[in-house]
Assembly symmetry: C2
Homo-oligomer: 339 residues x 2
């Protein structure tokens, strides 16, 4: 454990004795596994397949600690999810830290413990890492990069090009939880304590779904830009319309209230433990059934369908009062540092 | 090309329209390849082996542009080198950007072009990426993370545990070039223009060496902490002494002069295009011959040997005047943001 008031020094990133001590005493023991323990320049992995998925994400979330998680858990779950929605079984992650001089060692350890716990519970190893320290003022506390390698699940092919008119749009649970939690904590609104980020590793449920149901065409996790961005990306890539029914989109009441108070559209709010799946109509019910057997998919719902586009493809929502509105691609200005 | 004076906005990292435009117009076209072009959450790769190396490094170098390279080239070469010295053929890299709001688009494009050129010339693809933007003041211009995947070269086993007393210490060229270039540019000393970083991708020469010479036991690139740190890491891990001969260590005259003027020990200065190899005595000459056939190894030399340790293992240097001194592990304070 860190000595009381111990701080990160520039020398912790200098590649010398202090870097070595930081890695050997504070970082590596938390993630112990044979590949990492060699502390080589690269981790050696013997995979069960030579078809892999490879992804990266940097995390700059503010605040670092939030209801339901912190930057460590988020960095592990986020990268696991990017592998999961591409049809891979996540195997190994890297962990790259950029730390501001003066950052508290105890907070770093809390973040590392949280990353380790998230990786453990998803059955993923953190096998390689890097630590840089920049002078006070050159970064805001800590930024975390995780990259990940996953083994492609055998026989699974996902892609925009597999989506067909008539396919159903499945959503694995409520939207807006992560983003509204972060925003509410920043703005210190009264009911923020009731909001909890959905930050979670989705691979247990995506793997189960892909192995049990043959009709899954495509998956994506609606993070930055929210459900609105993900549906628009699908519409643009497939040149088809997406029609969703507002009343079928699961939204937590407190999340909706927070969004209303603060003037946000929950469709545009980031999620960190949800996925959208496009599933053939005949398998949609089976997919929902499989999702609902897992806590992370307990509120899974079919929220709409893919339709042939007559003109430019659009995302359209049938509203609660029976009207229709176009769901646009968010501009992106709303929510800096949400993840 | 960026419009004149175009700047990075927070919305470029928001996951909406501006992020999409930045990725599609400014980033992805520079690295075009089938895996990247899908713009999926993860890149799909079909490797020729299921034994892989996986590594990560974040780059926070200051200044961003220096003689012999920039943060883009450095980020690509550095991660390629971590794969290369572990005995892998580098295949694919990720590129994670953390950009400060207000950073000039033209500089970003210059960095990306440089990264693309470095990857191209090493035969490596950038297959996946991520872009985050933080508010002005929350980061110093731009930080780059690259992670990398390489295929282990068949039949090659490298590791500390293979090192034996009597093995030779091979160095692929001059030391201190990268670090002294960066430091001199920061301090604006008179002869800085004669200094050039050695920033380069080593995989062409390491692959050639490993395929041609059977006696290579271990390799590492002496980056942060320099040759002193790498040799000490080997001594500690093997519990053996390392003896090096000062006169046999190649050092550029201008680099030595800059180190002398500024009070640095070149042994502790970072390199970004050099490797140390531990080679069995019988194959040392052959290894040197192979290195010297490649421009990156033209000044390769045997600089010392591994010896049985009687007490605690140490790195010892026979100095130019015939004395002996212990080469300690650097503390790490000397050179923040050297890479």
């Amino acid at each position: 454990m860190a000595a009381k008031d111990e701080k990160i020094l520039l020398a912790h990133g200098g590649g010398g004795r202090l870097t070595d001590a930081l890695i050997r005493h504070n970082i590596a023991p938390r993630f112990s596994n044979p590949s990492l323990n060699e502390l080589a320049d690269a981790a050696r992995l013997h995979l069960s397949s030579n078809r892999i998925c490879f992804t990266t994400d940097s995390y700059v979330v503010k605040p670092l600690f939030f209801h339901g998680g912190d930057i460590g858990k988020l960095a592990v779950c986020g990268t696991i999810n990017d592998l999961a929605v591409c049809g891979a079984r996540p195997v190994a992650l890297s962990l790259g830290l950029i730390i501001e001089e003066g950052f508290e060692m105890a907070l770093l350890e809390k973040i590392l413990d949280s990353a380790a716990a998230a990786a453990d519970s998803a059955g993923v190893s953190i096998v390689t890492g890097d630590t840089k320290v920049v002078e006070a003022g050159a970064a805001d506390q800590i930024f975390v990069n995780t990259s990940g390698v996953g083994e492609c699940l055998g026989g699974i092919e996902l892609g925009f090009e597999r989506i067909r008119p008539g396919d159903r749009v499945l959503l694995s649970g409520t939207i807006g939880d992560h983003g509204m939690t972060i925003i509410s904590q920043r703005q210190d609104i009264g009911f923020e304590s009731k909001l909890v980020s959905d930050c979670a590793a989705l691979s247990p449920v995506t793997t189960k779904l892909l192995e049990a149901v043959p009709g899954v065409r495509f998956m994506r996790d609606p993070t930055r830009g929210g459900l609105a961005a993900t549906l628009n990306e699908i519409a643009v890539a497939t040149k088809m319309n997406i029609e969703v029914i507002e009343q079928q989109i699961p939204v937590d009441k407190t999340v909706q209230a927070a969004a209303d108070v603060l003037g946000f559209d929950v469709l545009e709010i980031a999620n960190e433990g949800k996925f959208v799946a496009i599933v053939s109509a005949e398998y949609a019910d089976a997919a929902i059934d499989v999702c609902r057997t897992h806590p992370l998919g307990a509120k899974a719902a079919v929220i709409g369908q893919v339709k042939q586009a007559e003109e430019s493809p659009v995302v359209e929502m049938v509203t609660g009062v029976g009207g229709r509105r176009i769901v646009q691609m968010p501009y992106g200005r709303e929510l800096p540092r949400i993840c």
